[in-house]
């Protein structure tokens, strides 16, 4: 792990954090419609995993995946504009918060349907195998999604054909308001790897370097034709399931939330790099400022951008418009 890489990890974590904090503000200010599921708390897992990929590799996200395109290298402007429903959005305002695809950096899709992205990632693995292009696909999903049939079907498919897919579970201990322990028959999702004869690893999701190492190994295994792996990162979301959503009863301890915040991925990496002498405190602050600027410019770009025409709703249903009834 080079110093440059370790710093880049920090940079991406911070970029996600600041982007998400801004998203929260934009939502509160009524500039983002709908609701948003933030990545705050998950940054270590997300950035560590994505950095283990090559640029040409792919990722598939889920409903909580603003951070993932950022970690994979997407420009912030198109993402923020998308969240604001603008025509300059990366999906022209059609996808929004749960569907931030950016094919230019290998973010091939995010699924608002829990578990819906897992087969898609498996298919990217099939393409890599058939086309022999050396790509690996990293598939993100939550603890909740691991109860879906698509998880089981996909892991079996990838295992039998040794597809280059890394299944990466962000276990944040809750699916919406439901504690994972109430709906998961096992404590560690990683043990399910046994059912598919593939490696299953547990990693501290708040430690970006640990995540990077474990993911890198899995990515290399996949790339060499040794098949898929299942990685479970233990992590936590700091905010509500969805920002703006009011949950009428407490379903987690404030003490639990505080405990997790003590192990903040931004802080952990910053302290580690400063202690190792890789980064000075000043430089770390500078990075923060640089990224704050990036985020500001993204917001400005998004705010300046136009809304799509209403008629744009009729584009992109098919590649070529289909004959049929005039509307």
């Amino acid at each position: 792990m080079t110093d440059a890489l370790r710093i880049e990890m920090y940079r991406r974590i911070v970029r996600i954090r600041l982007f998400e904090e801004s998203v929260k503000k934009q939502l509160a200010a009524g500039r983002i419609p709908g609701s948003v599921h933030l990545s705050i708390g998950h940054e270590g897992a997300v950035a560590g995993a994505c950095l283990a990929l090559n640029d040409g590799d792919q990722i598939v996200g889920n409903h909580r995946s603003h951070g993932h395109p950022i970690a994979k290298g997407a420009q912030l402007g198109g993402l923020m504009a998308e969240l604001m429903g603008k025509r300059t959005g990366v999906c022209k305002g059609k996808g929004g918060s749960m569907h931030l695809a950016d094919h230019s950096v290998g973010v091939i899709g995010e699924s608002g349907i829990v578990g819906g992205g897992i087969p898609l990632a498996t298919g990217a693995g099939l393409s890599a195998r058939v086309l022999g292009n050396g790509c690996v696909c990293l598939c993100f999903f939550g603890d909740g999604a691991s109860s879906e049939g698509s998880f089981h079907e996909s892991l079996n498919l990838a295992a039998i054909w040794k597809l280059p897919v890394v299944y990466f579970c962000e276990n944040n201990l809750y699916g919406a308001t439901t504690p994972a322990r109430d709906v998961l028959a096992v404590e560690d999702i990683a043990v399910r790897a046994v059912g598919y004869g593939i490696p299953g690893e547990i990693v501290d999701g708040q430690d970006v370097e640990a995540v990077y190492r474990v993911t890198k190994e899995a990515v290399e295994r996949a790339r060499c034709g040794n098949g898929p792996s299942l990685i479970e990162a233990k992590t936590y979301r700091y905010g509500e399931h969805a920002e703006g959503l009011i949950i009428p009863v407490a379903y987690r301890d404030t003490a639990e939330v505080e405990r997790w915040k003590q192990r903040d991925p931004v802080e952990i990496q910053r302290r580690r790099l400063v202690e190792a002498g890789v980064l000075s405190d000043e430089r770390a602050d500078e990075i923060g400022d640089e990224i704050a600027g990036e985020v500001e410019r993204a917001v400005a770009f998004a705010l300046e951008s136009d809304l799509p025409d209403a008629s744009a709703a009729f584009d992109d249903v098919y590649g070529r418009p289909v004959a049929g009834e005039e509307r």
């Binding site: 419609p33 709908g34 609701s35 998308e82 429903g85 603008k86 959005g89 999906c91 305002g93 059609k94 996808g95 929004g96 918060s97 749960m98 569907h99 699924s111 608002g112 349907i113 829990v114 578990g115 819906g116 909740g144 999604a145 109860s147 879906e148 049939g149 699916g175 919406a176 308001t177 439901t178 109430d182 709906v183 998961l184 949950i247 009428p248 009863v249 379903y251 809304l307 799509p308 025409d309 209403a310 744009a312 709703a313 009729f314 249903v317 049929g324 009834e325 509307r327």
Partner: protein
């Protein structure tokens, strides 16, 4: 006035103004209290008792499930086969696609395949979300698809009284019923009789009487339909607004009788256009009321596009007052 029309008092209790959402939980509460075989299955629903939407004593019959729609829906079917009367909460209607095997292959067919040995008293609830920038994975209105699956009953209640009455009737029904709630109605209020208020299946409600045009409005479109009727009344056109309330069974008589009087039919359907519920209603009228029809049958629907995220694109897609007025204007 739409509320009153939707709430024929059954004499059992006073009429209160409550929201559609409250009415849903009153139905659950009352039926669970009345019949110990009623259980709830769905994601995050332990909130129901914890937030006081349901009585805490019912907790043991509330199964807050893993995210496994086909599994817990099929589990509901199996439970219905063996003595329970489950209500399966699928939350958002787009998740129904994951449970289609349980609903269409199993729930709908088991009574038939067993030659009537079994009944499948199960209710599936699903809510349809509009205009909230929920985008294509959370905005579908798939009731037309399920209308094509014999063995299911399909309800689209539009008032607090009807959602309560339909849910209660569905829970007591010995066959699978899929109840589609319109999320835009959840926080609208209307009069609901207290106590045992049941809404019959296959009986449409005339929400407004009229003589020039029959307007069949499905589910959450009652509001725009009545507003359009009001506007057009001011212009001397009298609309009869009919809410079918259940799509399977569908009250042919009320619709056909109205068309026989007006000779004009407009159907307002928030589902996608092609093979929406409006198609079936149009087909029925074109076969059985043809001789009385004097003008083309017009469908006012959501067009055939996935639902986009941006409000700039989403909002204009749904049937509006203006769309209805324009459709009716075509018929003169």
């Amino acid at each position: 006035m739409s509320g009153e029309a939707g709430a024929p008092a059954d004499g059992s209790g006073e009429i209160r103004e409550i929201s559609y959402f409250q009415a849903i939980f009153e139905a659950h509460q009352e039926e669970m209290a009345r019949d110990e075989r009623v259980v709830l299955i769905g994601e995050d629903i332990s909130l129901y008792t914890r937030a006081g939407l349901l009585d805490g004593s019912l907790e043991g019959r509330v199964f807050s499930a893993p995210i496994a729609e086909n599994g817990f829906s099929g589990m509901g079917v199996g439970a219905a086969l063996t003595g329970l009367r489950p209500v399966v909460d699928l939350t958002i209607a787009s998740f129904i696609y994951l449970a289609m095997d349980a609903i269409v292959n199993q729930a709908a067919k088991i009574r038939y395949m067993t030659g009537g040995q079994a009944s499948v008293p199960i209710v599936f609830r699903a809510s349809m979300w509009h205009e909230g920038s929920n985008a294509a994975h959370h905005s579908d209105r798939p009731y037309p698809m399920l209308m094509n699956a014999p063995g299911l009953k399909i309800a689209v209640p539009a008032t607090p009284a009807d959602v309560k009455g339909i849910l209660k009737a569905a829970i007591r029904d010995d066959d699978p019923v899929v109840v589609f709630e319109d999320n835009s109605l959840w926080f609208k209020s209307g009069p609901v009789p207290a106590g045992d208020h049941l809404t019959p299946f296959g009986v449409a409600e005339v929400r407004r009487k009229g003589s020039d045009v029959t307007l069949v409005a499905i589910g959450g479109t009652q509001g725009v339909a009545l507003e359009a009727a009001e506007q057009l009344a001011g212009q001397g056109v009298s609309l009869e607004v009919i809410d079918p309330r259940t799509l399977v069974p569908l009250d042919h008589e009320t619709i056909l009788a109205s068309v026989a009087r007006t000779g004009r039919l407009v159907i307002v359907d928030p589902a996608n256009r092609t093979n929406g519920a409006a198609a079936e209603i149009a087909a029925i009228a074109a076969e059985y009321a043809f001789d009385q029809l004097r003008w083309p049958i017009v469908r006012v629907t959501t067009p055939d596009v996935p639902i986009p995220f941006s409000p700039a694109m989403e909002q204009p897609l749904y049937p509006s007052v203006a769309d209805i007025v324009e459709a009716v204007r075509k018929l003169q």
